[in-house]
Symmetry: C2
Subunit: 390 residues, 2 copies
């Protein structure tokens, strides 16, 4: 099929891969983390800042953009890159996950899904054909197929049914897709079943997509399960295509994903927790609102290369959060995204040097993980939404 991307693995260490993905909007070094710009903005930041932090590709959401400002407006004004002033790579999610997680699902038919907007409750139809048409109108570099993502704890039979729906949706997306400067990625489903994951990978790779995502993970299942599912899925994906783990982005999970062979990640976590005052440090997250920071002259992370740490004391950032000043959310976002950008850079360099495993071990020995399910709150909404369907 049509593939405007070129992808090459340049170095491996165990299953970890270091490489390069060339998109119609520039080169992306992998493994890569994509910051989330659901509503055509990485919250609080300008495109200039995203570039300065070091990102080469971001993620945006068809679901959000469809509801606001509307796909047709963005298309009329020259596409998503121009609309949001970003000349790097863009991957768009299809809207499938959001329809099940954010909106209230109304009806699943042979044609597609009828859902209600989480903004105003209005009713909308999403079909695989529309999901592709919208993403072609947005002009992202990488579009995603529409998929159906089951909860991690439903029965084998329901997971199988859901996987089969995903396969039908993927084929319909592929048959619809025509834009030559946009790649369409498939999404492997199959829940926690090794058999279903293998079947899903084998079926979807037979259709020869330019890239493959592992979907349906980080939605409430234990982390060992996430790891096991990745291990059971990746051997059935082609070596020469990028592998994308959706919705993953805590420092510890990025290391885990890379060590299992993942090339691409996205997650709202680093930016969302920043706005809540949780800042990444090599020792784990700190809560900037804590009174112990009131008089701290040092930056949040000594030696950190981010604008926030280069310019301001921890005391100042603490003050801005305490006073609910809008600059607070921005400075924290810059710090957390710089932390993740530098973390991915360190991962790539260590794979190139053949020191990834020791680098990972060293990082994790210092970093106090937060036992948090990244998308738990979304998952709860989503399980609720599925009651209509199950």
């Amino acid at each position: 099929m049509n593939n405007p991307l070129s992808f090459s693995v340049k170095k491996t260490e165990g299953k970890a891969r270091m490489g390069e993905l060339v998109t119609p909007h520039g080169r992306v070094e992998t493994p890569v983390f994509m910051p989330v710009a659901s509503q055509a903005t990485v919250k609080t930041l300008t495109p200039v800042e995203i570039r300065e932090i070091g990102f080469q590709i971001i993620l945006s959401n068809t679901y959000h953009l469809y509801l606001r400002p509307g796909i047709e407006i963005i298309e009329k004004l020259g596409g998503l890159h121009k609309y949001m002033g970003w000349d790097g790579g863009i991957l768009t999610d299809s809207g499938g996950y959001q329809v099940f997680s954010l909106s209230r699902l109304r009806k699943l038919t042979d044609e597609g899904v009828v859902f209600r907007s989480h903004i105003d409750g209005s009713e909308h139809l999403l079909t695989p054909e529309l999901a592709v048409q919208y993403q072609e109108a947005l002009g992202s570099d990488i579009a995603m197929v529409l998929d159906e993502c089951p909860a991690h704890d439903v029965s084998y039979e329901k997971t199988r049914l859901s996987m089969n729906i995903t396969h039908i949706l993927a084929k319909r997306c592929l048959d619809t897709h025509t834009r030559v400067d946009q790649a369409l990625f498939a999404i492997i489903q199959g829940g926690t079943s090794p058999e279903l994951r293998r079947h899903s990978a084998e079926y979807l790779t037979s259709l020869d997509f330019p890239g493959y995502a592992v979907g349906g993970l980080s939605i409430g299942e234990p982390k060992e399960v996430t790891a096991a599912v990745i291990d059971e899925t990746l051997p059935y994906l082609p070596e020469n295509k990028p592998r994308y783990l959706m919705g993953v982005g805590s420092p510890e999970d990025l290391f885990e994903g890379v060590s299992r062979g993942i090339d691409m990640f996205d997650c709202a976590l680093p930016t969302r927790v920043a706005r809540n005052g949780a800042l990444f440090t090599p020792e784990g997250r700190v809560n900037i609102s804590n009174a112990r920071f009131t008089r701290m002259e040092e930056p949040v992370v000594s030696g950190c290369s981010c604008y926030t740490c280069r310019t301001f004391s921890t005391s100042y950032l603490h003050h801005l959060f305490n006073a609910k000043e809008l600059l607070a959310y921005r400075l924290a976002t810059i710090h957390n995204l710089t932390f993740i950008s530098e973390l991915m850079k360190g991962i790539r360099e260590s794979i190139a040097d053949g020191t990834f495993e020791s680098h990972k071990a060293q990082f994790l020995s210092q970093y106090q993980t937060t036992n948090e399910q990244v998308r738990v709150s979304q998952k709860e909404k989503w399980l609720k939404a599925r009651e209509d369907f199950d």
Copy 2:
């Protein structure tokens, strides 16, 4: 008295003056507008952006900084410039106006005022000696005396009493002030009475301050009254000292103030209305939330030099406001402050060229003014607060 400032008027046209004020933190071209950074941040912006927009001096508030994070913390961390990462000029207001406008005044004694914090209701004492001590600790380039600002519509007798208190406060501030790299400005009061204004100017200039503010204006009185009071006050101020009109900052009022001989202005209006979606254009303010902007490809102001207009369509800014994205408030602030910065630059250039009056006439013939009392909501709180006192 001690004067670390050098001020020179380079060109005049009528009463309008174009000149230069040199502070311990750099040169300031006058007439100048100072953006407001009450809580040690020009809301939403970094110091780098404030500089890029073209500002050379900003205003911060002793009252706010005293309550949060606390004067002693800022002093311990190296002073206000270092704390907020701003190496340009800083003028600090004394806290007098805020005590009467924002807080709930409890008691006026010979020593000073006891007020309640607008944040947590806690009780605090502010004296002229403390107001100076706090501003010396902050290390601003220009400190303001503590003053007592009467409502514009109280009796002559009350205005006179209030003016006399202001004079006592000013003298006590002057007697306390020692910091050699900081100038202390006096504040002329006297309400709407030409006699009292003249008396206040004559008394305070006899003390030889390095600069003089006209206080007690733009607090609800008709604009003709504001203009008349300025005209009645300025002839009694020395020509070789800067004249500062406090709390004024709408485009039309800046032109009016300059034409009457004012050199310095500050106001929260341009940044506050930006966050509410009101953007300055040469034709007046527009409300970005208006549906007519939904599909507008052009920037808010064609040819505008600001980052927002150079980068984004009006449609995109409309979308960000509609989606309540934090970037919206920032892009609007950049636009409005650039508009004001460019407006002041145009004013200075036109005085230099001897074309100020025609430039002013041309601007005002296009610009639809908003008949708004800049500080009305503050004034209401303040009148209420004064009930305890009157």
